[in-house]
Amino acid sequence: MDLSIASILVLDGATNGAIYALMALATVLVFAVTRVIFIPQGEFVAYGALTLAMLQLGKVPGTMWLMLGLALLVAALDAAHRLRAGVAPAQLALGAGKTLLLPAAIGAVTWWAAPRQLDLVLQSVLTLAIVTPIGPLVYRLAYQSLADATVLVLLIVSVGVHFALTGFGLVAFGAEGFRNPSFWDARFSVGALSLSGQAIIIFTVSVALMLALWLFFERTLYGKALRATAVNRLGARLMGISTTGAGQLTFALAAFIGALSGLLIGPTTTLFYDSGFLIGLKGFVAAIFGGLSSYPAAALGAVFVGLLESFGSFWASAFKEVIVFTIILPVLLWRSFQHPHDDEEE
């Protein structure tokens, strides 16, 4: 190994690390606010990339139908609940309309736009609009009524949601992989390093998103409400913050971050319907670095995971995944020495 090889590996590791960092941030965010260990986080990466691939082919992506179907289910569920509570029919219709309006509008735009094969950037925006609502809808269906259950129950639900979403991915996108066109085809040479435009986009967007999240949590009322919910659910509720609303907002953010990550790495690799799982899992390993609570530690952990992966694949490619996932053990050990009395929350 010489310096040029090392620098190429560092660049590659940091590029993947940036994506893992986004995954880790979403994982920490979801866990802090809702106590859900969100295993299906990676699925939104695959959904994002493959939805764009379908739009590129001029087809209506299956994720649109998933979003509409989930919205209908949620509307029906809400209506049934309200009916039992004795709400007037006019209000029932209003509530259902509220749930269905946005998904129906996005569905209609997709239907119109899909065969027209619009500009790549417009299609990307449409992709984000299709995938993001799936997050809160999934929360409403799978987690909301269990919001006060133990972490373990929520984890088990997550495993179920993961399988359901992966299975749907296979139906919607098929077993073969796709590679999206690059957003920026330029290449820059710095010595032995060749920096692709896409890598620059990945870094810029990741950093920008982290900054935006930081501003969101520090400066906006919604962000502060989320933080309050993360610190103390009951206290937040007493202050008039809807924990249900906080959960849905969190899941919307998680789905948005996932879909955006999918758009970012879509042009650099071939993505399959089940590719997201491992990406999400590596984000989870990174989140463990921060004890599922610290955002900066999770982001640093993600870059470390990315570097470990790229150097691991150079030295011992057959054991790459083993190396990446074994790192979780010493980290857990170190954390348990640091916080010996960190009782499991029940």
């Binding site: 077993a175 071939t270 790229s310 694949s313």
Partner: protein, 380 residues
């Protein structure tokens, strides 16, 4: 009492009728759902195109789904033997299931036509015959081309799974015999996001050729990774697992000029007339694409097509030994397969012997190159 006696008599009559029938029955177990359904569904499509008779006898086909689950595959195989009294078991298209079913087939002394190139330990699989080519046979055209173009060293970049392992062993043995040395052995997984590390190491070792072992669109990412690191496209070789249009779709201009080892069926129309599989392959493509549309022909349905060619050849021979549904007939089928001699099918030339149940002869594989987004056969 009387009713029971009557029932008993009816049952006995039904059983007698059952054994007296002369239909040839084939029990097929395929993964129609689950992770390998991409293999099972086209194989089933191929079977559905079979004629309703074979060698003048009526042909019964029972198709069951094994859901990519070895337990269900074994259950299906047992059902075929004890309830349906089949003469031949076919399947499965997934390796672990086909392997698990082979024990049941041997126990029930029924020929199993595997739709997957399963490696079994010595002494096992006495009644099991493979329809897909072994990796050793598919390595032949690659090694031949390496010898011809003076390749002395090669690098290996393959899946970290059974498919990669089989290729590593088979290409290793054949290359060693030809005096070609492996200078880099790297692994990756289908869902990896990058192969930069592996590609760097291979490019640093500077081999004369690189073999990429992967399947379908998963073969494009390592290929592009190598090209990105400056490795020349026309020195990259791919295996038959990648011989589908998905490689070209995802790989784009980066796979232009690369080589790929393939069975003859999917490219039958481009083969020279001297190729023994040409006529059968063209017939297969025409029959299959008439029903399933243009460019739908694939290697899995071709194996189903070939199974019928074998049935046409072995059923008349076995009929001389006994009636369908009997032990003698089943033994006759096995003997016929093992002694039928050189038999061209759409996917190559088969020649099963009692010792070799893979059967394909070295003339089977075809080397293709990619030109202007389509396959082109590389002449020998």
């Amino acid at each position: 009492m009387k009713t029971i006696a009557l029932l008993g008599a009816a049952l006995a009559a039904a059983l007698a009728l059952g054994s007296a029938r002369a239909d040839v029955t084939v029990g097929v177990s395929l993964p129609l759902t689950g992770p390998t359904s991409a293999l099972g569904i086209p194989a089933q499509n191929g079977i559905k195109l079979w004629p309703t008779t074979v060698a003048g006898e009526k042909l019964n086909v029972i198709i069951l789904d094994d859901a990519t689950d070895p337990t269900i595959g074994v259950k299906n195989a047992r059902r075929f033997i004890t309830e349906d009294k089949v003469d031949i078991i076919m399947g499965s298209a997934a390796t672990p299931i086909a392997a698990a079913m082979s024990d049941v087939a041997a126990e029930g002394q029924t020929v199993q036509m595997m739709m997957s190139p399963v490696n079994l330990p010595p002494g096992k699989g006495e009644w099991s015959f493979r329809l897909p080519q072994s990796t050793a046979v598919m390595a032949v055209p690659i090694i031949e081309h390496w010898k011809k173009t003076g390749v002395k060293t090669y690098g290996f970049l393959g899946y970290a799974d059974a498919y990669g392992e089989a290729w590593l062993a088979d290409i290793g043995a054949a290359a060693e015999k030809a005096g070609i040395k492996r200078v880099a052995t790297e692994r990756f997984a289908r869902t990896d996001t990058s192969v930069t590390g592996q590609a760097l190491k291979i490019v640093a070792a500077n081999p004369d050729a690189v073999l990429v072992v992967a399947s379908g669109s998963g073969a494009a990412m390592p290929h592009k990774g190598l090209v990105e690191r400056g490795y020349p496209k026309n020195k990259i070789y791919q295996t038959h697992g990648a011989a589908s249009l998905d490689l070209i779709r995802v790989g784009g201009k980066d796979v232009e000029g690369s080589y790929i080892s393939s069975g003859p069926a999917v490219v039958a129309d481009m083969l020279p007339d001297s190729n023994p599989s040409k006529a059968l392959g063209v017939r297969y493509i025409n029959e299959y694409e008439k029903v399933h549309g243009k460019n739908s022909a694939n290697q899995f349905a071709a194996h189903s097509f070939d199974a019928y060619i074998l049935l046409e050849k072995i059923v008349p021979l076995a009929l001389k030994k006994g009636k369908p549904g009997t032990k003698e007939f089943r033994q006759g089928l096995k003997d016929a397969l093992e002694t039928m001699g050189r038999t061209p099918v759409s996917q190559g030339v088969l020649n099963y012997t009692p010792a070799d149940h893979f059967g394909y002869t070295p003339e089977t594989g075809v080397l293709l190159t990619i030109q202007n987004g389509d396959w082109k056969v590389v002449p020998h």
